[in-house]
Amino acid sequence: MSEFFGFFLSGITVGFIYALVGVGFTVIYNSTGIINFAQGEFVMIGGMSSVFLIKLGLPAEVAFFLAIVITSLIGIALYKLIDLSKNSSEVSLIILTLGFAIVLRGLASVVFDKELHTLPPLLGDGTVTIFGATITYQALIIIAIAIFIVIGLFLFFKKTKTGLAMVAVSNNKDAAKLMGINIKNILMLNFVISSVIASIGGILLTPITSTNYEVGIMLGLKGFCAAIIGGLGNPFGAVAGGLLLGILEAFVAGYISSEYKDAVAFVVLLGILFFAPGGLFGNLKAQRV
């Protein structure tokens, strides 16, 4: 029983890590319809900038804040690039984000370095024992903040004027424009929100996984899987997708073999795309042909 619960907790920890990255995908997809493959790199920049700002002697809170600002500026830069090439097809724009990711990775290896780095856990090294299984404080913080972010996003999109404007833009750009909504600002805001979520993720993950210039590749991939499984465009879906992925991985590693763990992500992804192409919580937009 404690073994079962141990695997379960491990899965939840990893699941929320994937979810935190996955949510960022959904925000940008919602507004622009493109998948931002630089999302993992945003997470990396959040973590790496915090590490180096703290090394410069800044207090942790200031460093975290600046790291979030830096990542947001990079997010705005990506939006400007996409805006410049707005007449291109969505596929070209997705490739643009891929290229942007490679540039960020290269820059990070030069501006920062190629070494591994870590941050101290926010509340120390402590652990909590539940039914004989343990979970770290840091993992609990990640879970709490991930839930907070998703509920916050939900309320923001439903209850605030700006949020509603964003939903309007994603539903019908032309109609939104006619209603007097500044589309460019709204789209840029989407990229900022996504970058902020990613950099918070990077700051929270670093004490657990440690970080280096390449860490975004794996995080981006798993976060993308989480977002797809949950149905792109739905933040709750990204959390469900991340949890499903994390828990499955943990159980496969625990009960079958750790060799097959990574295969699970892709089998689940293929299965979802085959049987429920819209994802678990997504509703495929009906397209008139």
Partner: protein, 381 residues
């Protein structure tokens, strides 16, 4: 028009005079992965080569000849290694080649150096490079097999019989896992659990829980490098597993202690001696050279010494010694000289080459066992 022609002639003359001046140089090739996934190996290796070639030349060179280092970066790609080895042999006409940094690249270029009869000093880990012995291929790098043997010896000393493996699925972890399973029976050790993890995984508690709940396990060994072993160490502490935990030479640097933090307390790490050069007992055979290398490197590059750079030091000076001993820069003679190295003081240990042994290291000086206490290394006697 005439002026242009004159300039060209002059340039040509100047160039040819430079070629003449180059007659007294020894061209040594280097194939290193100074960027890419193995840059943690190649970067300190290249820095070491550049530093010592400069130093040797400033001190008058080898037998009066200056060394010219021709280094290429492969980014750890075996394909590029093949391209560069051909270029080194056919165009640059080097007399000896140092590298590559990784096993895959080395295996890919062996047949070219064998055919061209140019001595190669690999800086990669696997035993397969020098076993079976190939006439022109050497390496002065402790193998992962030796690291396994060192761990097994330590287990024997502690009277522990049942070992669990949790290995990274990258090339390093894979190769060491295989070697450890291979040598275990020589030391009467049973491998009772054999888990793996992806090199970019963020949580290994599932695998460790399985090991924890396996009542046979008495000790755990984690072959791997990068962030994986640090996460394993943290999860190990989180699950409060009481068995001794061993880490490989892949993480034998201060960086590992920094990243694993408090969880690293009490972890044993098998490591090349240079990592703790200052702390080695005074009678340790290659202490002097290890301390010298560590101090040189840290002074020149202002970063903590990485054990991997020592491979480059040993390869370079093995060639230098061979040239001195044979008083010739003929590749064939250099090869003979390297094969006859006896009691050569290397950073990686005392080297005794022979016709049958192109490694020349033993587990006594090649690897030592360390334990982490209060964020620092202590040597296990």
């Amino acid at each position: 028009m005439l002026k242009k022609l004159l300039i060209k002639v002059f340039a040509l003359l100047l160039f040819s005079s430079m070629v003449v001046a180059n007659a007294g140089t020894i061209k040594i090739g280097a194939i290193v992965a100074s960027t890419g996934p193995a840059s943690f190996l190649g970067d300190p290796e290249l820095k070491t080569l550049e530093y010592y070639v400069k130093q040797i030349n400033n001190n008058g060179g080898v037998n009066g000849d200056k060394i010219k280092l021709i280094a290429y970066d492969t980014g750890a790609s075996p394909k590029k290694a093949v391209t560069f080895v051909k270029r080194l042999i056919n165009q640059d006409k080097v007399v000896a080649i140092i590298g590559p940094s990784t096993t895959g690249e080395t295996m890919a270029i062996i047949k070219f150096v064998q055919r061209a009869k140019i001595p190669l000093l690999s800086m990669a880990g696997a035993v397969a490079i020098i076993k079976p012995v190939k006439k022109y291929v050497f390496k002065i790098v402790a193998t992962d097999r030796m690291a396994c043997q060192k761990v097994m010896q330590d287990l024997n000393k502690r009277g522990l019989k049942n070992l669990a493996l949790i290995s990274g699925s990258g090339g390093f972890g894979k190769s060491m896992r295989k070697q450890c399973k291979d040598v275990a029976k020589d030391y009467h050790i049973n491998i009772v659990a054999d888990e793996t993890y992806g090199k970019k995984d963020s949580d290994m508690t599932s695998q460790l829980l399985k090991i924890k709940n396996n009542s046979k396990v008495q000790a755990v060994l984690n072959p791997g490098f990068g962030q994986g072993p640090a996460i394993v160490t943290k999860n190990y502490k989180q699950l409060d597993i009481k068995h001794p935990l061993y880490q490989s030479h892949g993480v034998a640097s201060k960086k590992f202690i920094e990243i694993a933090g408090a969880a690293a307390e009490g972890v044993r790490v098998v490591a090349p001696p240079v990592v703790v050069a200052d702390k080695l007992p005074a009678d340790f055979p290659n202490k002097k050279i290890a301390v010298k290398y560590k101090n040189d490197f840290e002074k020149a590059y202002h970063t903590q010494v990485a054990s991997f750079g020592g491979h480059a030091y040993d390869a370079l000076f093995a060639i230098v010694e061979a040239i001195k001993a044979q008083n010739s820069t003929n590749p064939q003679k250099i090869r003979d000289g390297i094969e006859n190295l006896k009691n050569f003081q290397g950073v990686d240990g005392i080297v005794n080459m022979s016709k049958k042994d192109h490694l020349g290291l033993d587990t006594k000086t090649g690897m030592i066992m360390l334990e982490i206490h209060n964020g620092d290394w202590t040597i296990v006697k």
